[in-house]
Amino acid sequence: MESPETVRIYEVTGLTRLMSSLWVLAASESLHGWPARRIPLSSTLLATSVLGLEPYVGSVSNDSGELRVETVSDRVVVVGSSLGGVVAANELRRAGIRVLVISNGVRDVYGLLGLGEEGEYLKQLAGIEPVDGYYVGLYDEGHAFVASDTLYVTRGPVVYAAGAEQPPPIALNNDLPGIVSANYGAEIVAELGYRPRRVVVLGYGYLAPRVADWLASRGVETRLVALKGAVPEKPEKAELVETRGVKGFAGENRVEAVVLEDGERLEADMVVSALGIYPDSPPVYAAGYPPIYVGDCYRFVPELPGPGTDIAERGYLVAAGMAIGYEWLDAVIASARYAAALVAYSMKRIGEGDVEHFYSELREALGKRAKYCPRVSRPPIWLSGEISGLQFIDLDEDLVLYHVYSAWSKGYRTMETLKRATGLGTGSDQGRFSAASSAIILSAISGIDASEIGLFRPRPPYFAPEASLLARAPTEW
């Protein structure tokens, strides 16, 4: 397993960072004594989604035909066919291992900025033909994946290289009135008859295009702002605005515009956050679950698993390349290679020396980065040093940082107790962003390690399948 040509080709490809402006977490002093001027009505229970069943129907329709079940334990499944997936699959094949690459065509372009033609070329070089599908979680029967007409089940190893979720485009001024969660926004439109003139929906998950279309169907001028290439379904009625990032919000006393990365202003009198879908990236949740995380200095992630790691103990799930950062290609590649090596070694296809080699390669790649790796890396919600009011931390539940900080001050000092005291992370996204953000911020305030504050346990499915989808599968096989 030496460095394949494919990798070098990629290394010279110019990559831009998706989120070029990183707001560094404010110094802890600015959070101490931070005045709580207003406490909004928590929408935890009030803002029950009013989307209803019918308007909620998206364009995904899988209600015809039976799903057949195929057991693929004789192969290693690689989830994701972007850079990490391609590199890992390539290495596994070189070690003589059969590979099944599962790729949601959309997610292909999720992480690495849209591989486009280069991606196709890479796949050709690596000799892989991905099957379109989704990872739906780890069950008694093994890891499960759903493609259009097949339910794949494997008890074998899985390399999860589907990329980490993008951080949400929530930045400065998210305390402006008029920025609401999807549930709350829908409720005031549907139930209270509130008619905003122009709405911007933020999000690139499963929920966002449906929420945008639902609002548009109510006669509201609606634009969906999503990271370029990342939206899984294009909205039918709302206008799609693709961007490299959202810089923040502008307005006097209430939100007036969403400011994009390139400075463009999208006028809006209501901004709806539809960032809440269930996380499909296990690594952020690795604290409570057993996938091996081969990644960077992310605080929640346990130690980099050494070459002797028993992957059976980790549910045979090996995560690769995630949260490495888009600008650290050598680390992405090294982690994908090491993930593949751990699997190949467990199958006795390569020797101990080989794993050691890939391990040291990854250590070296990460080492180069270490000096750039702050105590807290890549907080999912960036706060400015100029916090003056409320700072939403869980837009799924309309919680502000004050709620969480106040509960913390009252002695609720682990993520599980914070969750129960505030409702943090109990919305659709299950704290995909808010748990990590809260832990990082509280860590900065208290000096307690973020990993000690913890995250929630992930609970499959990772992708939200329509009930009709799996109802098509047999229960006997």
Partner: protein, 405 residues
Amino acid sequence: MGSDNLLGLPRAPFSEKLPEKADIVIIGGGAAGLATAYAMARLGYSENHRVVVLERGYLGRGSATRNAGRFRVHFFSRENARFAIESRKRILEIPYVTGVNPVIVLGGYLWLFQREETFKAFAKTNEELWRPLGVPVNIMGIEEAEKRFPHIRMSGFVGAAFGPQDGSIHHDYMMIALASYAASRGVIIAPYREAEEIVTENHRVKGVRIRGHGTIEARRVLVAAGVWTGSLLQRLGISLPLKPVRKSLLVTEPYRYFLREFVVVFETGSYVAQTAKGEIIATEKYPPGEPETRDYGKVSLRWLIATMKLVKRLIGDKGVHVMRTWSGHYYVSPDHSHVLGRDPDWPEGLYVATGFSGHGLMMSPYAGELVAINMVEDKVPEDMKPYLPTRFREGKLIHEGLVIG
């Protein structure tokens, strides 16, 4: 609540420091343990008894927060029906006593019947048991049910029964309510403190050894540790006929709140319901015989598929997205009824509140009260007598036939 309490959130009811000695140690900070601590406080016992609750994780970490959050008064056995009526009264008092709103919704239970004979038997129980107890259900033919519950697909069912006395409670808030009330009246609640062993001397309880934190002395100990109760007792050579059975739940995205009722397919015990937040929850009994395990985490893919079929059958599946699944436990006793108090053969001072067989959240408020009286006043309340652990060897079982999930 003081003016500094902007969130209306009680101060976390946790104690970092543990005393070396207590009068009563409760092992388990779940529904049964906290309900007992709450009763100790309500009955005034905590004023002159030092009561300590040991919880190995966060409060409610076990089955207390891994359930559908429902309560009902309709059980097939007279003992359980009466017990549940008493427990319901205490559930409804919680917000008034504690100042914490546990979001109680009296949405009712809706049983659907696939067979005439089960439907008739249920109607008979209604006349013979529930009506005399003052909690009749509303028995109806399928046409009437279709009219009253148009959002539920009734095809394949022959009849329905609606229990308006039944409802739901948010389990997390219930735990906070019970714990904060108990803590405010002197009960010491210690999460992340795992009871490792109950220490005895001369056939008498002496204390509890806490993993990594020494031993706390106490002459009376309640084991209310859910499915972990058995292993603690085992070390004392005591075995109760209880089995930990994994039960799983499917949770969807939140939708408009349209399903107040807890919809149960009587013959299978499967159900579909909706939380106050709007998530649809469901479980199907499949594959037959969930595994006996104390592990959390995984669920069966075959079960997930079967449950999705159930959702499709009862409410339709169009646009219903499954967000997650998780599992909890039933700690099942041979008669599907709980086990309270002590066996005179056990070491002096040892008590249990366990084996709730899936009814822990709903039965705990009354069970905790009875156990508190039993432990402090050294007498067995009348309503507790059928539930003593001695009933298994005496063959006096409380056969409970109405088990859901």
